[in-house]
Amino acid sequence: MQSKLLKKEMTIPADFLYSPRAATIVKTKQMTANEKFFEIKFDDGEPLGHEPGQFIQLSIFGIGEAPVGICSSPTKEDRSTFEVCVRKVGTFTNALHKLDVGDKLGIRGPYGRGFPIDELKGNDVLIVAGGLGIVPLRSLINFIIDRRRDFGNVMILLGCKGPKDRLFTDDMKEWERMLNINYACTVDRADPDWKGNVGVITTLMPGVHIDKNRTYAVVVGPPIMYKFVIAELLKKGLSENQIILSLERRMKCGLGKCGHCQINSVYVCKDGPTFTYAELKGLGEAL
Protein backbone atom coordinates (compact mmCIF):
# COMPACT_ATOMS: atom_id res chain seq x y z
CA MET A 1 0.00 0.00 0.00
CA GLN A 2 2.91 2.32 -0.48
CA SER A 3 2.36 5.36 -2.60
CA LYS A 4 4.78 6.89 -5.02
CA LEU A 5 5.30 9.61 -2.56
CA LEU A 6 7.28 7.53 -0.15
CA LYS A 7 10.03 7.16 -2.67
CA LYS A 8 10.16 10.87 -3.02
CA GLU A 9 10.59 11.23 0.70
CA MET A 10 13.64 9.09 0.76
CA THR A 11 15.49 11.84 -0.99
CA ILE A 12 14.85 14.18 1.94
CA PRO A 13 17.98 14.20 4.06
CA ALA A 14 17.38 12.18 7.19
CA ASP A 15 18.03 15.14 9.46
CA PHE A 16 15.02 16.89 8.07
CA LEU A 17 12.66 14.08 8.82
CA TYR A 18 11.23 15.92 11.78
CA SER A 19 12.39 19.38 10.73
CA PRO A 20 9.73 21.58 9.26
CA ARG A 21 10.44 23.77 6.24
CA ALA A 22 9.92 27.48 6.65
CA ALA A 23 6.85 28.99 5.06
CA THR A 24 4.94 32.25 5.21
CA ILE A 25 1.25 32.97 5.29
CA VAL A 26 0.34 35.04 2.24
CA LYS A 27 -3.42 35.23 2.64
CA THR A 28 -6.00 34.45 5.27
CA LYS A 29 -9.75 34.44 5.39
CA GLN A 30 -12.06 33.86 8.31
CA MET A 31 -14.54 31.46 6.75
CA THR A 32 -16.86 30.86 9.66
CA ALA A 33 -16.68 31.63 13.35
CA ASN A 34 -14.39 28.66 13.85
CA GLU A 35 -12.78 27.98 10.53
CA LYS A 36 -10.01 29.98 9.01
CA PHE A 37 -8.42 29.73 5.61
CA PHE A 38 -4.69 30.17 5.02
CA GLU A 39 -2.74 30.49 1.81
CA ILE A 40 0.86 29.54 2.42
CA LYS A 41 4.09 29.84 0.49
CA PHE A 42 7.40 28.15 1.13
CA ASP A 43 10.19 30.60 1.80
CA ASP A 44 12.37 28.86 -0.75
CA GLY A 45 9.63 29.33 -3.40
CA GLU A 46 9.34 25.59 -4.07
CA PRO A 47 5.85 24.22 -4.70
CA LEU A 48 4.47 21.77 -2.14
CA GLY A 49 4.15 19.07 -4.78
CA HIS A 50 1.20 17.29 -3.28
CA GLU A 51 -1.63 15.12 -4.53
CA PRO A 52 -5.26 15.80 -3.62
CA GLY A 53 -6.05 14.01 -0.37
CA GLN A 54 -2.61 14.33 1.15
CA PHE A 55 -1.91 16.23 4.32
CA ILE A 56 0.87 18.21 5.92
CA GLN A 57 2.08 18.70 9.47
CA LEU A 58 1.84 22.35 10.40
CA SER A 59 4.29 23.44 13.03
CA ILE A 60 4.49 26.40 15.40
CA PHE A 61 7.49 26.11 17.62
CA GLY A 62 6.74 26.15 21.27
CA ILE A 63 3.19 25.10 20.59
CA GLY A 64 3.57 21.94 18.56
CA GLU A 65 2.31 20.37 15.39
CA ALA A 66 -0.98 19.35 13.86
CA PRO A 67 -1.87 17.41 10.73
CA VAL A 68 -4.16 19.20 8.30
CA GLY A 69 -5.41 18.34 4.86
CA ILE A 70 -4.50 20.46 1.88
CA CYS A 71 -7.52 22.14 0.33
CA SER A 72 -5.97 23.53 -2.83
CA SER A 73 -5.38 21.57 -5.98
CA PRO A 74 -1.84 21.01 -7.24
CA THR A 75 -3.18 22.27 -10.57
CA LYS A 76 -3.88 25.66 -9.06
CA GLU A 77 -2.73 28.56 -11.20
CA ASP A 78 -0.12 29.84 -8.78
CA ARG A 79 1.72 26.66 -7.94
CA SER A 80 4.05 28.34 -5.49
CA THR A 81 1.34 28.51 -2.85
CA PHE A 82 -1.04 26.04 -1.31
CA GLU A 83 -4.06 26.36 0.94
CA VAL A 84 -5.40 24.91 4.15
CA CYS A 85 -8.53 25.48 6.15
CA VAL A 86 -8.41 24.84 9.85
CA ARG A 87 -11.05 24.53 12.52
CA LYS A 88 -10.29 25.95 15.91
CA VAL A 89 -10.59 23.07 18.37
CA GLY A 90 -7.67 23.14 20.76
CA THR A 91 -4.20 24.27 21.60
CA PHE A 92 -2.50 24.23 18.26
CA THR A 93 -5.41 25.34 16.19
CA ASN A 94 -6.10 28.24 18.52
CA ALA A 95 -2.52 29.40 18.18
CA LEU A 96 -2.72 29.01 14.42
CA HIS A 97 -5.84 31.11 14.21
CA LYS A 98 -3.94 33.97 15.82
CA LEU A 99 -1.48 34.02 12.93
CA ASP A 100 -1.97 36.33 10.00
CA VAL A 101 -0.49 37.41 6.69
CA GLY A 102 3.27 37.66 6.94
CA ASP A 103 3.56 35.28 9.90
CA LYS A 104 5.78 32.28 9.51
CA LEU A 105 5.12 28.68 10.25
CA GLY A 106 6.74 25.34 9.60
CA ILE A 107 5.57 22.64 7.25
CA ARG A 108 6.41 18.97 7.09
CA GLY A 109 5.13 16.85 4.27
CA PRO A 110 3.15 16.36 2.17
CA TYR A 111 2.42 13.00 3.71
CA GLY A 112 0.16 10.09 3.09
CA ARG A 113 -1.60 8.53 0.17
CA GLY A 114 -3.84 10.87 -1.77
CA PHE A 115 -7.03 10.01 -3.61
CA PRO A 116 -6.48 7.40 -6.33
CA ILE A 117 -6.63 9.88 -9.21
CA ASP A 118 -5.47 7.35 -11.76
CA GLU A 119 -8.39 5.10 -10.99
CA LEU A 120 -10.88 7.94 -10.96
CA LYS A 121 -9.74 9.07 -14.36
CA GLY A 122 -12.13 8.15 -17.10
CA ASN A 123 -14.87 7.38 -14.62
CA ASP A 124 -17.78 9.18 -13.03
CA VAL A 125 -17.04 10.68 -9.68
CA LEU A 126 -19.54 11.17 -6.86
CA ILE A 127 -18.19 13.41 -4.14
CA VAL A 128 -19.87 13.39 -0.76
CA ALA A 129 -18.59 15.91 1.80
CA GLY A 130 -19.77 16.38 5.35
CA GLY A 131 -18.64 19.33 7.45
CA LEU A 132 -14.87 19.72 7.42
CA GLY A 133 -14.68 16.86 4.92
CA ILE A 134 -14.93 19.43 2.16
CA VAL A 135 -11.38 20.55 3.00
CA PRO A 136 -9.44 17.71 1.33
CA LEU A 137 -12.25 17.23 -1.19
CA ARG A 138 -11.95 20.78 -2.44
CA SER A 139 -8.47 19.86 -3.54
CA LEU A 140 -9.90 16.95 -5.52
CA ILE A 141 -12.85 18.90 -6.90
CA ASN A 142 -10.67 21.69 -8.17
CA PHE A 143 -8.25 19.15 -9.58
CA ILE A 144 -11.09 17.53 -11.49
CA ILE A 145 -12.35 20.89 -12.71
CA ASP A 146 -8.90 21.76 -13.98
CA ARG A 147 -8.65 18.37 -15.70
CA ARG A 148 -12.33 18.12 -16.49
CA ARG A 149 -11.78 16.29 -19.73
CA ASP A 150 -10.18 13.34 -17.91
CA PHE A 151 -13.31 12.51 -15.92
CA GLY A 152 -16.83 11.42 -16.64
CA ASN A 153 -19.87 12.74 -14.80
CA VAL A 154 -19.11 14.64 -11.65
CA MET A 155 -21.57 15.01 -8.79
CA ILE A 156 -20.98 16.91 -5.58
CA LEU A 157 -23.12 16.41 -2.50
CA LEU A 158 -22.46 18.69 0.41
CA GLY A 159 -23.78 18.60 3.95
CA CYS A 160 -23.31 21.09 6.76
CA LYS A 161 -24.86 21.85 10.10
CA GLY A 162 -26.26 25.18 9.01
CA PRO A 163 -25.93 27.73 6.20
CA LYS A 164 -23.41 29.71 8.27
CA ASP A 165 -21.19 26.66 8.60
CA ARG A 166 -20.61 26.33 4.89
CA LEU A 167 -17.00 26.60 3.89
CA PHE A 168 -15.69 27.83 0.53
CA THR A 169 -18.94 29.52 -0.38
CA ASP A 170 -17.24 31.27 -3.31
CA ASP A 171 -16.16 27.94 -4.74
CA MET A 172 -19.62 26.58 -4.17
CA LYS A 173 -21.19 29.34 -6.23
CA GLU A 174 -18.76 28.46 -8.97
CA TRP A 175 -19.53 24.75 -8.77
CA GLU A 176 -23.20 25.41 -8.77
CA ARG A 177 -22.87 27.53 -11.88
CA MET A 178 -20.86 24.94 -13.80
CA LEU A 179 -22.90 23.02 -16.30
CA ASN A 180 -20.71 19.97 -16.34
CA ILE A 181 -21.03 19.42 -12.61
CA ASN A 182 -24.02 18.29 -10.61
CA TYR A 183 -23.99 20.09 -7.33
CA ALA A 184 -26.31 19.82 -4.35
CA CYS A 185 -26.08 21.11 -0.84
CA THR A 186 -28.09 20.45 2.28
CA VAL A 187 -28.06 21.79 5.81
CA ASP A 188 -29.18 20.05 8.99
CA ARG A 189 -30.90 23.17 10.24
CA ALA A 190 -31.95 26.03 8.00
CA ASP A 191 -32.06 29.70 8.84
CA PRO A 192 -34.70 32.15 7.47
CA ASP A 193 -32.57 33.08 4.46
CA TRP A 194 -31.87 29.52 3.43
CA LYS A 195 -33.71 28.40 0.34
CA GLY A 196 -31.94 25.12 -0.31
CA ASN A 197 -32.31 21.57 0.97
CA VAL A 198 -32.78 20.78 4.63
CA GLY A 199 -31.85 17.43 6.15
CA VAL A 200 -28.86 15.19 6.71
CA ILE A 201 -26.73 14.37 3.73
CA THR A 202 -28.32 10.99 3.07
CA THR A 203 -31.54 12.77 2.15
CA LEU A 204 -29.77 13.89 -1.04
CA MET A 205 -28.84 10.37 -2.00
CA PRO A 206 -32.14 9.16 -3.50
CA GLY A 207 -31.92 11.94 -6.07
CA VAL A 208 -28.56 10.78 -7.29
CA HIS A 209 -28.48 8.58 -10.31
CA ILE A 210 -25.28 6.79 -10.89
CA ASP A 211 -23.94 4.21 -13.24
CA LYS A 212 -22.69 1.67 -10.78
CA ASN A 213 -20.23 0.27 -13.25
CA ARG A 214 -18.28 3.43 -13.80
CA THR A 215 -18.75 5.49 -10.68
CA TYR A 216 -16.36 6.08 -7.85
CA ALA A 217 -17.71 7.66 -4.70
CA VAL A 218 -15.30 9.77 -2.68
CA VAL A 219 -16.67 10.37 0.79
CA VAL A 220 -15.14 12.51 3.52
CA GLY A 221 -16.82 13.55 6.73
CA PRO A 222 -17.28 12.72 10.38
CA PRO A 223 -17.32 9.05 11.45
CA ILE A 224 -21.07 9.01 11.98
CA MET A 225 -21.71 10.09 8.39
CA TYR A 226 -19.69 7.25 6.92
CA LYS A 227 -21.96 4.60 8.29
CA PHE A 228 -25.06 5.93 6.61
CA VAL A 229 -23.55 7.10 3.36
CA ILE A 230 -21.73 3.83 2.76
CA ALA A 231 -24.91 1.88 3.31
CA GLU A 232 -26.67 4.02 0.70
CA LEU A 233 -23.85 3.64 -1.78
CA LEU A 234 -23.75 -0.11 -1.39
CA LYS A 235 -27.48 -0.12 -1.93
CA LYS A 236 -26.91 1.68 -5.18
CA GLY A 237 -24.71 -1.16 -6.24
CA LEU A 238 -21.27 0.33 -5.89
CA SER A 239 -18.62 -2.19 -5.02
CA GLU A 240 -16.49 -1.75 -1.93
CA ASN A 241 -13.57 -0.85 -4.12
CA GLN A 242 -15.48 2.00 -5.65
CA ILE A 243 -16.03 3.76 -2.38
CA ILE A 244 -13.16 5.92 -1.22
CA LEU A 245 -12.92 7.47 2.21
CA SER A 246 -10.49 9.64 4.11
CA LEU A 247 -9.94 9.12 7.83
CA GLU A 248 -8.84 11.36 10.62
CA ARG A 249 -6.79 10.03 13.48
CA ARG A 250 -4.53 11.55 16.04
CA MET A 251 -1.03 11.86 14.57
CA LYS A 252 2.28 12.88 15.97
CA CYS A 253 4.91 12.00 13.41
CA GLY A 254 3.10 11.50 10.10
CA LEU A 255 5.82 9.00 9.23
CA GLY A 256 4.35 5.72 10.34
CA LYS A 257 6.23 5.47 13.61
CA CYS A 258 4.52 7.11 16.55
CA GLY A 259 1.61 4.67 16.60
CA HIS A 260 -1.16 7.14 17.32
CA CYS A 261 -2.96 6.83 14.01
CA GLN A 262 -2.81 3.07 13.87
CA ILE A 263 -6.08 1.34 12.97
CA ASN A 264 -5.57 -2.35 13.41
CA SER A 265 -2.68 -3.14 11.10
CA VAL A 266 -2.67 0.05 9.05
CA TYR A 267 -1.19 3.44 9.75
CA VAL A 268 -3.49 6.23 8.60
CA CYS A 269 -0.59 8.60 8.03
CA LYS A 270 1.27 6.33 5.64
CA ASP A 271 -1.24 3.81 4.34
CA GLY A 272 -3.94 6.50 4.24
CA PRO A 273 -5.50 8.87 5.02
CA THR A 274 -7.52 7.78 1.97
CA PHE A 275 -8.72 4.21 1.77
CA THR A 276 -11.17 2.22 -0.23
CA TYR A 277 -14.02 0.86 1.76
CA ALA A 278 -12.76 -2.60 0.84
CA GLU A 279 -9.53 -1.89 2.63
CA LEU A 280 -11.24 -0.68 5.76
CA LYS A 281 -14.13 -3.06 5.98
CA GLY A 282 -12.24 -5.75 7.82
CA LEU A 283 -10.62 -3.35 10.24
CA GLY A 284 -12.55 -3.32 13.49
CA GLU A 285 -11.50 0.11 14.56
CA ALA A 286 -11.79 1.95 11.27
CA LEU A 287 -15.33 3.25 11.08
Binding site: Y18, G62, P223, G259, H260, Q262
Partner: protein, 348 residues
Protein backbone atom coordinates in the same frame (compact mmCIF):
# COMPACT_ATOMS: atom_id res chain seq x y z
CA UNK B 1 38.68 -16.30 13.84
CA UNK B 2 35.02 -16.31 14.88
CA UNK B 3 35.36 -17.80 18.36
CA UNK B 4 37.59 -16.94 21.32
CA UNK B 5 37.51 -18.20 24.87
CA UNK B 6 37.67 -16.30 28.13
CA UNK B 7 38.53 -17.56 31.60
CA UNK B 8 35.64 -16.82 33.91
CA UNK B 9 37.67 -14.83 36.36
CA UNK B 10 38.87 -12.58 33.54
CA UNK B 11 35.43 -11.21 32.85
CA UNK B 12 35.89 -8.09 35.00
CA UNK B 13 39.13 -7.46 33.18
CA UNK B 14 37.28 -7.68 29.88
CA UNK B 15 34.67 -5.21 31.08
CA UNK B 16 37.41 -2.98 32.33
CA UNK B 17 39.10 -2.96 28.94
CA UNK B 18 35.78 -1.97 27.39
CA UNK B 19 35.35 0.87 29.85
CA UNK B 20 38.56 2.43 28.57
CA UNK B 21 36.98 3.13 25.20
CA UNK B 22 33.26 2.97 25.74
CA UNK B 23 30.49 3.81 28.06
CA UNK B 24 29.50 0.37 29.27
CA UNK B 25 25.89 -0.30 30.14
CA UNK B 26 25.14 -3.60 31.78
CA UNK B 27 22.65 -5.28 34.06
CA UNK B 28 23.06 -4.24 37.68
CA UNK B 29 21.00 -4.91 40.75
CA UNK B 30 18.26 -2.53 41.79
CA UNK B 31 16.64 -3.61 45.03
CA UNK B 32 15.30 -7.08 44.29
CA UNK B 33 15.32 -6.56 40.52
CA UNK B 34 17.74 -5.59 37.78
CA UNK B 35 18.20 -2.65 35.48
CA UNK B 36 20.56 -1.72 32.70
CA UNK B 37 22.79 1.08 33.94
CA UNK B 38 26.10 2.67 33.16
CA UNK B 39 28.61 0.87 35.27
CA UNK B 40 31.58 2.28 37.05
CA UNK B 41 32.99 -0.84 38.57
CA UNK B 42 33.06 -4.12 36.58
CA UNK B 43 32.07 -5.89 39.77
CA UNK B 44 28.64 -4.29 39.55
CA UNK B 45 27.79 -6.31 36.45
CA UNK B 46 25.30 -9.08 37.21
CA UNK B 47 25.30 -11.58 34.40
CA UNK B 48 23.03 -13.98 36.19
CA UNK B 49 20.00 -11.76 35.99
CA UNK B 50 16.28 -11.70 35.44
CA UNK B 51 15.05 -9.51 32.61
CA UNK B 52 15.61 -5.91 33.65
CA UNK B 53 12.71 -3.62 34.56
CA UNK B 54 13.05 -1.68 31.32
CA UNK B 55 14.54 -3.38 28.30
CA UNK B 56 17.68 -1.95 26.70
CA UNK B 57 15.46 -0.16 24.18
CA UNK B 58 15.93 2.89 26.40
CA UNK B 59 19.38 3.30 24.86
CA UNK B 60 18.03 3.18 21.33
CA UNK B 61 14.83 5.09 21.89
CA UNK B 62 15.33 7.06 25.11
CA UNK B 63 12.34 7.84 27.32
CA UNK B 64 12.83 11.50 26.43
CA UNK B 65 14.71 12.31 23.27
CA UNK B 66 15.44 15.71 21.88
CA UNK B 67 14.62 15.99 18.21
CA UNK B 68 16.05 19.44 17.80
CA UNK B 69 15.95 22.95 19.10
CA UNK B 70 14.50 26.18 17.84
CA UNK B 71 14.80 29.86 18.45
CA UNK B 72 11.97 32.32 18.67
CA UNK B 73 10.56 33.70 15.42
CA UNK B 74 12.40 31.15 13.36
CA UNK B 75 10.63 28.12 12.04
CA UNK B 76 13.69 26.07 11.23
CA UNK B 77 14.70 23.39 13.68
CA UNK B 78 18.39 23.42 14.45
CA UNK B 79 20.53 21.07 16.37
CA UNK B 80 18.95 17.95 14.95
CA UNK B 81 22.16 16.02 15.15
CA UNK B 82 22.55 13.89 18.18
CA UNK B 83 25.85 12.85 19.58
CA UNK B 84 25.83 9.37 20.95
CA UNK B 85 28.69 8.39 23.15
CA UNK B 86 30.24 5.16 21.86
CA UNK B 87 28.54 2.60 24.04
CA UNK B 88 28.74 -1.09 24.73
CA UNK B 89 25.52 -2.78 25.74
CA UNK B 90 26.94 -5.61 27.76
CA UNK B 91 25.21 -8.82 28.71
CA UNK B 92 21.97 -8.40 26.78
CA UNK B 93 19.78 -11.50 26.65
CA UNK B 94 18.84 -12.94 23.29
CA UNK B 95 15.21 -11.91 23.74
CA UNK B 96 16.21 -8.30 24.28
CA UNK B 97 18.50 -8.38 21.27
CA UNK B 98 15.57 -9.64 19.25
CA UNK B 99 13.56 -6.73 20.65
CA UNK B 100 16.14 -4.29 19.36
CA UNK B 101 15.90 -6.01 15.99
CA UNK B 102 12.15 -5.39 15.95
CA UNK B 103 12.66 -1.71 16.65
CA UNK B 104 15.29 -1.65 13.97
CA UNK B 105 12.77 -2.87 11.40
CA UNK B 106 10.28 -0.18 12.37
CA UNK B 107 12.71 2.68 12.49
CA UNK B 108 14.49 1.70 9.33
CA UNK B 109 11.27 1.30 7.40
CA UNK B 110 10.96 4.22 4.98
CA UNK B 111 11.38 6.93 5.91
CA UNK B 112 14.21 5.80 8.14
CA UNK B 113 14.43 7.49 11.51
CA UNK B 114 17.78 9.24 11.78
CA UNK B 115 17.91 9.37 15.54
CA UNK B 116 17.38 5.69 16.03
CA UNK B 117 19.79 4.99 13.22
CA UNK B 118 22.54 6.98 14.78
CA UNK B 119 22.07 5.38 18.17
CA UNK B 120 22.01 1.94 16.66
CA UNK B 121 25.27 2.65 14.89
CA UNK B 122 26.99 3.87 18.03
CA UNK B 123 26.03 1.01 20.31
CA UNK B 124 27.93 -2.24 20.26
CA UNK B 125 25.89 -5.16 21.52
CA UNK B 126 27.55 -7.90 23.50
CA UNK B 127 25.00 -10.58 24.27
CA UNK B 128 24.92 -13.16 27.00
CA UNK B 129 23.18 -16.41 26.36
CA UNK B 130 20.64 -17.72 28.88
CA UNK B 131 21.41 -21.25 29.96
CA UNK B 132 18.48 -21.58 32.32
CA UNK B 133 15.00 -20.07 32.40
CA UNK B 134 14.60 -16.78 34.26
CA UNK B 135 11.13 -17.38 35.68
CA UNK B 136 7.75 -18.77 34.81
CA UNK B 137 6.69 -15.73 32.80
CA UNK B 138 9.02 -15.85 29.84
CA UNK B 139 7.98 -17.52 26.63
CA UNK B 140 11.24 -17.36 24.74
CA UNK B 141 11.03 -20.95 23.60
CA UNK B 142 7.67 -20.44 21.95
CA UNK B 143 8.74 -17.14 20.47
CA UNK B 144 11.99 -18.71 19.30
CA UNK B 145 14.22 -16.13 20.90
CA UNK B 146 16.10 -18.37 23.26
CA UNK B 147 19.09 -18.90 21.05
CA UNK B 148 21.28 -16.23 19.52
CA UNK B 149 20.47 -15.48 15.93
CA UNK B 150 21.36 -12.02 14.78
CA UNK B 151 21.56 -8.44 15.88
CA UNK B 152 24.62 -8.57 18.10
CA UNK B 153 28.34 -8.00 17.73
CA UNK B 154 29.58 -10.54 20.23
CA UNK B 155 27.74 -13.35 21.99
CA UNK B 156 29.02 -14.76 25.25
CA UNK B 157 28.15 -18.34 26.10
CA UNK B 158 28.92 -19.97 29.41
CA UNK B 159 30.12 -23.49 28.60
CA UNK B 160 30.80 -24.44 32.18
CA UNK B 161 34.47 -23.92 32.88
CA UNK B 162 34.88 -20.86 30.70
CA UNK B 163 33.12 -18.49 28.32
CA UNK B 164 33.07 -18.81 24.57
CA UNK B 165 32.71 -15.56 22.70
CA UNK B 166 31.29 -15.62 19.21
CA UNK B 167 32.30 -12.67 17.07
CA UNK B 168 29.55 -11.60 14.74
CA UNK B 169 30.72 -8.30 13.25
CA UNK B 170 33.78 -6.25 12.38
CA UNK B 171 32.95 -4.08 15.40
CA UNK B 172 33.00 -7.18 17.54
CA UNK B 173 36.29 -8.16 16.03
CA UNK B 174 37.62 -4.73 16.78
CA UNK B 175 36.84 -5.23 20.41
CA UNK B 176 38.38 -8.66 20.72
CA UNK B 177 41.30 -7.64 18.54
CA UNK B 178 44.59 -8.75 19.91
CA UNK B 179 43.56 -8.44 23.54
CA UNK B 180 45.67 -11.10 25.27
CA UNK B 181 43.05 -11.96 27.86
CA UNK B 182 41.21 -14.01 25.25
CA UNK B 183 42.26 -17.53 24.52
CA UNK B 184 42.53 -18.96 21.03
CA UNK B 185 40.06 -21.62 20.07
CA UNK B 186 41.89 -24.58 18.57
CA UNK B 187 39.18 -26.00 16.42
CA UNK B 188 36.33 -23.66 15.53
CA UNK B 189 34.21 -26.45 14.13
CA UNK B 190 34.37 -28.37 17.39
CA UNK B 191 33.30 -25.35 19.31
CA UNK B 192 30.41 -24.81 17.00
CA UNK B 193 29.27 -28.38 17.42
CA UNK B 194 29.66 -28.10 21.13
CA UNK B 195 27.54 -24.96 21.26
CA UNK B 196 24.85 -26.52 19.11
CA UNK B 197 24.72 -29.50 21.43
CA UNK B 198 24.60 -27.23 24.43
CA UNK B 199 21.64 -25.39 22.97
CA UNK B 200 19.83 -28.57 22.17
CA UNK B 201 20.27 -29.69 25.74
CA UNK B 202 19.44 -26.46 27.51
CA UNK B 203 16.01 -26.16 25.90
CA UNK B 204 14.99 -29.13 27.97
CA UNK B 205 15.32 -27.00 31.08
CA UNK B 206 12.78 -24.55 29.75
CA UNK B 207 9.17 -25.27 30.37
CA UNK B 208 6.94 -24.38 27.46
CA UNK B 209 3.71 -22.90 28.75
CA UNK B 210 1.96 -21.57 25.70
CA UNK B 211 -0.37 -24.17 24.28
CA UNK B 212 0.43 -23.27 20.72
CA UNK B 213 3.55 -23.23 18.72
CA UNK B 214 5.10 -20.43 16.76
CA UNK B 215 3.26 -21.28 13.58
CA UNK B 216 -0.18 -21.56 15.15
CA UNK B 217 -0.03 -18.29 17.00
CA UNK B 218 -0.84 -16.12 14.06
CA UNK B 219 -3.78 -18.30 13.11
CA UNK B 220 -5.14 -18.07 16.61
CA UNK B 221 -5.09 -14.31 16.50
CA UNK B 222 -6.75 -14.46 13.11
CA UNK B 223 -9.93 -15.70 14.80
CA UNK B 224 -9.70 -14.01 18.17
CA UNK B 225 -10.55 -10.40 17.43
CA UNK B 226 -13.97 -10.67 19.00
CA UNK B 227 -13.03 -13.09 21.75
CA UNK B 228 -14.62 -12.47 25.13
CA UNK B 229 -11.16 -12.80 26.61
CA UNK B 230 -10.63 -9.13 25.82
CA UNK B 231 -13.56 -8.14 27.98
CA UNK B 232 -12.11 -10.06 30.86
CA UNK B 233 -8.66 -8.55 30.39
CA UNK B 234 -10.17 -5.10 29.97
CA UNK B 235 -12.06 -5.36 33.21
CA UNK B 236 -8.89 -5.97 35.18
CA UNK B 237 -6.64 -3.52 33.39
CA UNK B 238 -6.05 -0.20 35.16
CA UNK B 239 -4.47 1.50 32.13
CA UNK B 240 -1.24 2.28 33.89
CA UNK B 241 0.78 1.81 30.73
CA UNK B 242 3.37 -0.37 32.44
CA UNK B 243 3.06 -3.23 29.98
CA UNK B 244 3.97 -1.04 27.03
CA UNK B 245 6.77 0.78 28.80
CA UNK B 246 8.55 -2.44 29.67
CA UNK B 247 8.00 -4.14 26.34
CA UNK B 248 11.16 -4.32 24.22
CA UNK B 249 9.15 -3.89 21.04
CA UNK B 250 6.75 -1.10 21.98
CA UNK B 251 7.82 2.11 20.41
CA UNK B 252 4.89 4.54 20.33
CA UNK B 253 5.77 8.08 21.19
CA UNK B 254 4.41 11.55 21.62
CA UNK B 255 6.06 14.75 20.41
CA UNK B 256 6.15 17.81 22.63
CA UNK B 257 7.60 21.28 22.51
CA UNK B 258 9.19 22.86 25.50
CA UNK B 259 10.28 26.47 25.57
CA UNK B 260 13.17 27.88 27.52
CA UNK B 261 12.54 29.99 30.55
CA UNK B 262 13.44 33.21 28.83
CA UNK B 263 11.16 32.20 25.94
CA UNK B 264 13.97 32.76 23.48
CA UNK B 265 13.61 29.29 22.07
CA UNK B 266 13.22 25.73 23.11
CA UNK B 267 13.31 22.16 22.03
CA UNK B 268 11.07 19.62 20.44
CA UNK B 269 11.28 16.20 21.99
CA UNK B 270 9.67 12.84 21.77
CA UNK B 271 8.55 10.93 24.81
CA UNK B 272 7.44 7.34 25.21
CA UNK B 273 3.71 7.08 24.93
CA UNK B 274 1.37 4.19 25.48
CA UNK B 275 -1.59 2.87 23.54
CA UNK B 276 -3.02 1.82 26.89
CA UNK B 277 -3.68 5.40 27.94
CA UNK B 278 -7.12 6.79 27.43
CA UNK B 279 -6.15 9.72 25.24
CA UNK B 280 -3.89 7.86 22.89
CA UNK B 281 -6.38 7.41 20.09
CA UNK B 282 -8.61 10.39 20.78
CA UNK B 283 -9.26 12.88 17.99
CA UNK B 284 -10.92 16.23 17.58
CA UNK B 285 -14.44 16.31 18.84
CA UNK B 286 -13.68 13.84 21.56
CA UNK B 287 -14.09 10.76 19.38
CA UNK B 288 -11.96 7.97 20.80
CA UNK B 289 -11.35 4.98 18.63
CA UNK B 290 -10.23 2.74 21.46
CA UNK B 291 -12.30 3.99 24.33
CA UNK B 292 -12.59 0.70 26.17
CA UNK B 293 -9.72 -0.74 28.14
CA UNK B 294 -10.55 -4.06 26.49
CA UNK B 295 -9.98 -2.66 23.02
CA UNK B 296 -6.72 -1.08 24.11
CA UNK B 297 -5.45 -4.33 25.56
CA UNK B 298 -6.51 -6.15 22.42
CA UNK B 299 -4.62 -3.59 20.40
CA UNK B 300 -1.47 -4.30 22.37
CA UNK B 301 -1.69 -8.04 21.83
CA UNK B 302 -2.50 -7.61 18.17
CA UNK B 303 0.49 -5.40 17.71
CA UNK B 304 2.61 -8.26 18.98
CA UNK B 305 1.00 -11.24 17.28
CA UNK B 306 -0.93 -10.05 14.27
CA UNK B 307 -0.45 -6.51 12.93
CA UNK B 308 3.32 -6.80 13.01
CA UNK B 309 3.11 -10.05 11.12
CA UNK B 310 0.96 -8.38 8.46
CA UNK B 311 3.27 -5.40 8.24
CA UNK B 312 6.74 -6.75 8.86
CA UNK B 313 6.22 -10.53 8.71
CA UNK B 314 7.44 -10.82 12.25
CA UNK B 315 6.09 -11.39 15.72
CA UNK B 316 6.69 -8.41 17.91
CA UNK B 317 6.67 -10.41 21.10
CA UNK B 318 10.09 -11.67 22.00
CA UNK B 319 8.88 -13.68 24.96
CA UNK B 320 10.71 -11.76 27.65
CA UNK B 321 7.76 -11.96 30.02
CA UNK B 322 8.10 -8.39 31.22
CA UNK B 323 4.52 -7.38 30.56
CA UNK B 324 3.25 -10.16 32.77
CA UNK B 325 5.84 -9.60 35.44
CA UNK B 326 5.07 -5.90 35.67
CA UNK B 327 1.30 -6.08 35.59
CA UNK B 328 -0.15 -5.46 39.00
CA UNK B 329 -3.53 -6.66 37.82
CA UNK B 330 -1.88 -9.99 37.00
CA UNK B 331 -2.83 -9.87 33.35
CA UNK B 332 -0.70 -12.70 32.03
CA UNK B 333 0.38 -13.05 28.45
CA UNK B 334 0.58 -16.80 28.81
CA UNK B 335 -2.92 -17.05 30.23
CA UNK B 336 -4.41 -14.71 27.66
CA UNK B 337 -2.84 -16.48 24.73
CA UNK B 338 -3.77 -19.88 26.11
CA UNK B 339 -7.32 -18.71 26.57
CA UNK B 340 -7.42 -17.60 22.94
CA UNK B 341 -5.81 -20.85 21.85
CA UNK B 342 -8.46 -22.82 23.67
CA UNK B 343 -11.27 -20.85 22.06
CA UNK B 344 -9.62 -21.23 18.69
CA UNK B 345 -9.40 -24.98 19.09
CA UNK B 346 -12.98 -25.26 20.28
CA UNK B 347 -14.22 -23.22 17.36
CA UNK B 348 -12.59 -25.58 14.94
Amino acid sequence: MRYVSLQKDKLPQFVNSLQKKYKVVAPVKKENLFVFATIEDPEEVELDYMPTILPPKKYFLPQHEKLGSFVKDNVAMADTNIDVEPTVLFGAHTCDIEGIECLDIVFHDTPADPYFGRRKKSIIIIGYECMKPCDEYSTCVTMDTLNPRAGYDIMITDIGDKYILYINSPEGMGIIGKNPIFGKVENERDVKTKLLKLREDKVKNFKVQIDADYKELNKIFGTSYNSKTWQDVGKRCVSCGNCTAVCPTCYCFDINDEVKLDMSGGKRERVWDSCQLDEFAMVTGGENFRKERSSRQRHRYYRKFDYSVKKYSKFFCVGCGRCTRTCMADISLIETVNELAKEHKNAK
